[in-house]
């Protein structure tokens, strides 16, 4: 077979070289190298040096970046129906989420994202979002009247409004100070990001509400993906699908290590009381988003899946 020039691709990672967000791409690069030696030249750029998540997503559409992990929250700007994966208290555990995105809903979302120029071979799971504050937030009433830092996402804002809290979208670089100063009283985050930003220094108590499973996708720029020869595309798709499982495992290990780090620094982890009431209030926002995500029937069907 004649020697061909390697296909170059720039891959953006938001976190450091030793974080799952970067390691997945090193893993993918090794797998495709083993399958098709010399076919691809990966340039993996860590530490959000190519921009925050929103900018990376724009870079995929505008041709400056070829691949990255992206959260569902960031993609809802282009495909609002992906918000279904971000609905509170919809998924019971990682296996439930994995089953759903591997099924019909996954196919529908992939097609929807392809129409928005994101080629998506696989879904990933960043872990559960928990409520973190200066004190335990055992019951839903404890949240009422507090200011909470949220992602700039309608679902997240609606969720905390339903609990009687005041959602405030504060960018992540200002969040530590805002929590320390009491501009906001609490926030929600995954365990590994919580420790990564050393937020246990200012909000030491994690109440393990697991209200939202932070899902994401391994996304490629569609013009890049569609321009690949079939053989290369197949090899890359296989490597990314395998890489997603590798990522999900890494995230679980990372979350455990993150909580150990937080606990050594005085952080603590508590379990919420009356989970049924948390779920009832959280799920009360489903109808407001039913129209955008394909109807309440679809939501109920996923909940039961």
């Amino acid at each position: 077979r004649p020697a061909r020039a390697a296909t170059r691709l720039t891959v953006a990672s938001l976190l450091g070289r030793d974080k799952p967000e970067t390691l997945i791409w090193r893993h993918v690069a090794e797998k495709v190298e083993a399958a098709l030696p010399g076919a691809f030249a990966f340039n993996i750029v860590p530490n959000a040096a190519l921009g925050a998540e929103r900018e990376v997503a724009e870079g995929l559409r505008l041709g400056s970046i070829q691949a990255s992990l992206l959260t569902v929250a960031s993609l809802s700007a282009w495909a609002p129906d992906t918000q279904i994966l971000d609905l509170p208290f919809l998924f019971r555990d990682p296996a439930h989420l994995k089953r759903v995105v591997s099924g019909d809903l996954g196919t529908v979302i992939k097609a929807r994202l392809a129409a928005e120029r994101f080629a998506v071979p696989a879904f990933v799971n960043y872990g559960a979002r928990n409520l973190i504050a200066k004190a335990p937030m055992l019951r839903p009433e404890a949240v009422r009247g507090h200011r909470i830092r949220v992602l700039q996402s309608p679902v997240h804002a609606a969720l905390w409004q339903a609990f009687g809290a005041y959602p405030t979208a504060i960018p992540i670089p200002e969040t530590y100070n805002a929590l320390q100063n009491g501009v906001v009283d609490m926030m929600d985050f995954t365990k590994s990001a919580y420790a990564g930003f050393r937020l246990y220094e200012v909000v030491p108590v994690t109440t393990e509400t697991r209200h939202i499973w932070a899902s994401g996708v391994a996304a490629f720029s569609a013009p890049f993906w569609d321009g690949l020869e079939a053989e290369k595309r197949a090899a890359l798709a296989a490597a990314v699908t395998e890489g997603a499982t590798y990522f999900d495992d890494l995230v679980e290990t990372d979350a455990a290590a993150a909580m150990r780090k937080a606990q050594e620094a005085g952080g603590s982890l508590v379990q919420p009381e009356d989970l049924g009431e948390w779920q009832r209030i959280g799920r009360s926002v489903w109808p407001a988003f039913a129209g955008a995500v394909g109807g309440l029937d679809r939501i109920e069907a996923i909940a039961a899946a």
Partner: protein, 607 residues
């Protein structure tokens, strides 16, 4: 006959009048945007504290307003002090050389404006999506930049043709075509890293005296020909995301505080009080400038705001006391480096976000480092003090009167310090409260409507120019990141050996060199995550190194070619940047001595 002469005389001046009108409208629009931004942030603070509810989407609206501001102010940043033109070389050229340099400089402006126009239009078609909180269509943002590029072209044509220089502008346009032909024709086979090609082109634009933001944009655009990963639509989107930084919103507010403080008379009162305290010493007002900068630093997180404030408040007073205007401006620029070292500090926020370093310890050590820097600056000021900068010792009654007169200005410091430290508002909100408070002071001081409008226009156009510069450095940072310039920097840091002092020395040198071509914020985001682990592995406390990194990079605010603090002070004082770069050398030396002392301190603690 007479009529004919009349026609010929008015034709160019009509164009000039149109150009002036466009500038006037754009300036007024910038002022209006700042006013809106102020109202918006103050209302969201009020909503939170008076009604207990947050204004969801307020921060997104503020970022959109800031991007609108930059698009509006972009055409104004070509001329005047806002252009941040490096004039060190051009002012030494013979007339023919200057004319050629002007042609090259205009070529960079044309290329940048064309990139904004074309890339913005393409990005508007391709970007898609709605903004997360407000649901505004995202294509509006690149479309605004395209409009900014179009207006820049229009203004350039009007002004050059009014000056009878249309043929020269055409020559510049041919130059752009030639450069694009070379870049895209030979670039792919040149084997030059895109970031290096962009760097060389930027150097050419710099030497020719092209406006700093435009030469950065144009160089990154040409670098696309060298296999660069940044096609024009992505370049414009990257520029916009460089502008849309929440922490940057504090800049226009602190600029507004600076203008309104001077107009309200509160700044004069502050100077009188400081002079009553230390004015009788040798270099009394210069030491007062330093002391005020320290106090201001404790309230503000932006050295640029500090420089703008100091340049407006102290530079004229220092000049009146016998300092050469450039020396007065240099003192102001040098003391404003303290703002990002003494907390609160935007630089430490960026570093903590990029490296996981604990912000609490960074800020605590920032006080120590700021103290060492201030002490070294005090020594330099004492050594260079003018005899005339000394006044009779004030008696107790005069000091008391001066203190009471300065109370309103102290109220400003109290608002910002209390606001940020004791947990009421974010940095941006504190800046807005400070601006609102100063506005009340100015209204109380019966400022006229005209002066009020001018203060807003000045703050608006100044903030737009600074925002454009920060945005324009983002595509450059992108190219450097893709070429792994940071990885190369990490390897360099280990090049003298693995011992603590060798690594620290090498890391400092890497920062000193990188800071020459990178914006400070960009350098922190790019180099912090690479250098901190390398230096920590050599046995130095990573937090100590984080502070050194910020101190080191802050000195670049005073160094050519990018020295942002010099350009800001030059813009306010209307002095040529080249003169300031010369005058600041003794104070730059003092800050480098402070860096040396702090580095030795970090080594002693590590040993």
């Amino acid at each position: 006959m007479a009529e004919e002469r009349f026609d010929r005389a008015t034709a160019p001046s009509t164009r000039l009048r149109s150009a002036r009108r466009i500038r006037h409208v754009l300036g007024a629009a910038c002022g209006a945007v700042i006013a809106l931004l102020l109202v918006e942030v103050l209302v969201s603070v009020a909503m939170r504290y008076l009604f207990g509810s947050a204004l969801f989407g307020a921060d997104e609206a503020a970022l959109w307003l800031f991007q609108l501001l930059v698009a509006l102010g972009c055409p104004l940043a070509v001329e005047g002090a806002l252009a941040m033109r490096f004039d060190f070389v051009t002012e030494r050229l013979p007339p023919a050389g200057r004319r050629l340099a002007a042609l090259v400089a205009d070529a960079f402006v044309l290329a940048a404006a064309a990139t904004l126009l074309g890339g913005g239009a393409l990005a508007a078609r391709a970007i898609g999506g709605l903004s997360p909180a407000l649901g505004l269509p995202e294509w509006l943002r690149p479309a605004l930049m395209a409009a900014g590029g179009a207006t820049t072209l229009l203004l350039l044509v009007l002004e050059r043709s009014a000056a009878g220089r249309l043929p020269r502008l055409l020559a510049s346009a041919l130059m752009v075509a030639g450069m694009a032909g070379l870049a895209f024709g030979l670039g792919p086979s040149a084997g030059l890293a895109p970031s290096l090609a962009a760097g060389l082109l930027a150097l050419l634009g710099l030497l020719a005296g092209a406006p700093l933001p435009h030469l950065l944009l144009a160089s990154a655009a040409f670098a696309d020909g060298f296999g660069g990963a940044l096609p024009p639509p992505a370049l414009v989107a990257t520029t916009l995301s460089g502008v849309a930084k929440f922490l940057l919103l504090a800049v226009p507010f602190f600029l507004l505080v600076g203008s309104l403080l001077s107009d309200s008379g509160a700044a004069g009162a502050l100077v009188r009080f400081a002079a009553a305290l230390v004015g009788h010493r040798r270099g009394g007002l210069a030491q007062t400038t330093l002391l005020t900068s320290v106090l201001f630093s404790g309230a503000s997180g932006s050295s640029i705001a500090n420089a703008a404030f100091g340049a407006r408040t102290f530079a004229p007073q220092l000049a009146a006391r016998g300092y050469a205007p450039a020396e007065a401006a240099a003192i102001v620029a040098a003391t404003s480096t303290l703002d990002n070292v003494i907390p609160p500090s935007i630089a430490f926020l960026l570093l903590a976000a990029a490296t996981d370093l604990p912000i609490g310890r960074l800020l605590a050590l920032g006080f120590v480092a700021g103290g060492v820097m201030a002490a070294m600056l005090a020594v330099a000021i004492a050594l260079r003090a003018r005899e005339g900068d000394r006044q009779p010792r004030a008696d107790a009654g005069e000091r008391r009167a001066a203190f009471l007169g300065a109370l309103p200005a102290f109220g400003l410091g109290a608002i910002v310090v209390a606001g940020i430290r004791f947990g009421i508002v974010t940095v941006t909100e504190a800046a807005a409260l400070a601006a609102g408070y100063t506005l009340l002071l100015a209204l109380g001081g019966r400022i006229g409507w005209r002066a009020l409008g001018e203060a807003f226009t000045e703050a608006g156009t100044g903030a737009a120019a600074i925002g454009l510069l920060i945005g324009a450095s983002a595509p450059f940072a992108f190219l450097l990141a893709v070429d792994d310039a940071a990885g190369a920097a990490g390897a360099l840091a280990s090049s003298f050996g693995d011992g603590a002092w060798q690594v620290l020395l090498a890391a400092n040198l890497v920062l000193l060199v990188a800071g020459l071509v990178l914006d400070i914020g960009v350098a922190i985001l790019l180099l912090g995550p690479i250098l901190v682990p390398v230096v920590a592995a050599a046995g130095i406390d990573p937090v100590h190194f984080g502070v050194l990194l910020v101190v080191n990079l802050m000195t670049h605010g005073l160094m050519p070619p990018i020295g942002i603090l010099i350009y800001v002070v030059a813009a306010v004082t209307k002095l040529p940047p080249a003169a300031l770069f010369r005058a600041v050398l003794p104070y730059l030396g003092a800050l480098l001595v402070a860096l040396l002392i702090l580095s030795v301190g970090a080594l002693l603690v590590a040993a």
